[in-house]
Amino acid sequence: MTLAETQAAFFSLVTDPEQIETRPELGLFDERLRIYANMYLWRLVDGLRNDFPKLAAVVGDDDFSALMSQYLRQHPSEHPDVGQVGRHLVSFLRQNRDPTRREDLADLAELEQARSEVFLEADRRPIDGSAISELGAAFPQARLRLVPALQLRRFEYHVAPVWRSIDDEQAPPAPLAQPNEVAIWRKEFAVYHVVLAAEEAEALRRALSGARLEQVCAAFADQDSPAQAAFAALSSWFVEGWVAALEIDPG
């Protein structure tokens, strides 16, 4: 066998160990191949368990291993960083809904994935809120440059209570179909998430897309006190370290 043929046979056997017994013609039959086959699955499932601990807690250890084995058959690792092996898991869970499992697993996995991304996102020092008071008449035309370690995600299910229950070592509540939007961010080295009111989520979406401050604040137009609501939201963004810069269009 050439080196390429040997590696093809070995890879096939290790990633699909049923062949170890059924395809002796591959020429690599050895009971010890099972060591590699077991380690292949164990290592990847263990990596996924590290990256999606809340998902693992909700489905339970045995079912998590079964679910991840199914996932890995469709999505073997294609990246040298084992931390990337779960990057298709959310879409896999959305496309392979199983009526015997909770309906909110894909959303829960997406929240975990977003938190992981934010954890390793580029560093950018935030500015404090005093900068906004210095804008004066330029306020409406100014734009917020938000830190990279901030995401806004829309979910079909309300997974924040599920997250909290696992942290509190309580049984998770039943899945609650309730569209909601969650901000996920890093402050120093800690990652946080919070469910936003609809108007604040819209304001954040506009800010993330580079809208001017007058457009960002217009998201609060339907509130009883729009200016006060906008001021409260923007102030909290500065406090949480979401704002990296204030930019004023030249001219």
Partner: protein, 288 residues
């Protein structure tokens, strides 16, 4: 082609430990008593966040060595250009004393097993690995060290021993050797060869680093688990390696069921002590 002027030089850093997430808080708040630190390269390919901040702090205090697990130098897949670019970028930022990976393969058809699979020790595999090591060294513009791996099977196609293969790769590709003492012990047990014969045959002028680690006895075989203290038999083999190779930068690996940092440092301290016993006072730690 290798870079002009490339030649293997062995820097002695003393005794190091791996930088692991469990100990990040300690590393951020103090300077533990160790000579140098080894990092898993792939764990620091991120754009920012805590891992890189910890590494920045550690690097300000100590020499750092980058140790990869996904180079897949023996694979018949093309070299992963993106991976090498990330590796080069990380090296440019942290200026490691050296970069190492494993003499194995771990990917096929652009799919990664995240494991260290053994090679058949054939002339074809030798030529293939030598060409790829040269290519990697050209891209990184520096020599790399390759580590012998633990293995559980061997290939009937092999026409040379592992130590002959390792020595030939190092000589022909002009790279260094990261000699894992525990891996020699594990593979010797699993394949029935004499680990001391292996040590004797490795070219001394190519050995740039030692690894020490614990393993598990599974009855039918030893498994390289990195989840326990270094066993006495591996310490004995280490003593022999020190006598044969002299002072070589030594690192204790512990990757699963990781203990508190003080226990890990104690294992590293034991390696320093044994080295001193074998070589005398000249082998005192680099950092007191």
């Amino acid at each position: 082609m290798l870079i002009d002027g490339l030649s293997f030089t062995r820097a002695y850093l003393g005794h190091g430990v791996g930088l692991r997430q469990k100990h990040f808080t300690r590393w951020l708040s103090e300077k533990p008593a160790v000579d140098w630190v080894e990092v898993i390269s792939e764990n620091f390919f991120a754009r920012g966040g805590r891992p890189l901040a910890v590494l920045e702090k550690v690097r300000a205090d100590l020499p750092v060595v980058m140790h990869g697990v996904s180079l897949s130098i023996g694979s018949t897949d093309p070299l992963n250009a993106g991976y090498l670019a990330d590796l080069k970028q990380l090296a440019a930022r942290f200026q490691p004393a050296w970069i190492s990976d494993h003499l194995c393969w771990g990917s096929h058809g652009s799919r990664y097993g995240h494991d260290l699979w053994p090679l058949p020790y054939t002339v074809e595999a030798l030529n293939h690995v030598v060409d790829r090591v040269r290519a990697v060294q050209d891209i990184l513009r520096r020599q790399i060290l390759l580590e012998n791996v633990s293995s559980y099977i061997s290939f009937k196609e092999s026409t040379m021993t592992e130590w002959e293969f390792l020595g030939e790769v190092a000589r022909r590709a002009d790279c260094g050797i990261l000699l894992d003492i525990n891996n020699i012990f594990v593979s010797a047990h699993n394949h029935g060869f004499d680990p001391y014969e292996y040590l004797k045959a490795v070219p001394a002028d190519r050995v740039g680093q030692f690894h020490l680690a614990g393993h598990s006895d599974k009855g039918t075989h030893l498994l390289d688990t990195h989840d326990a203290p270094v066993p006495e038999a591996v310490w004995e083999l280490f003593r022999s390696a020190v006598r044969r190779f002299g002072r070589v930068s030594t690192l204790v690996e512990w990757d699963d069921r990781i203990p508190e940092l003080d226990e890990l440092l104690a294992e590293s301290g034991k390696a320093a002590l044994l080295e001193r016993e074998e070589l005398g006072a000249q082998a005192a730690r680099v950092v007191a």
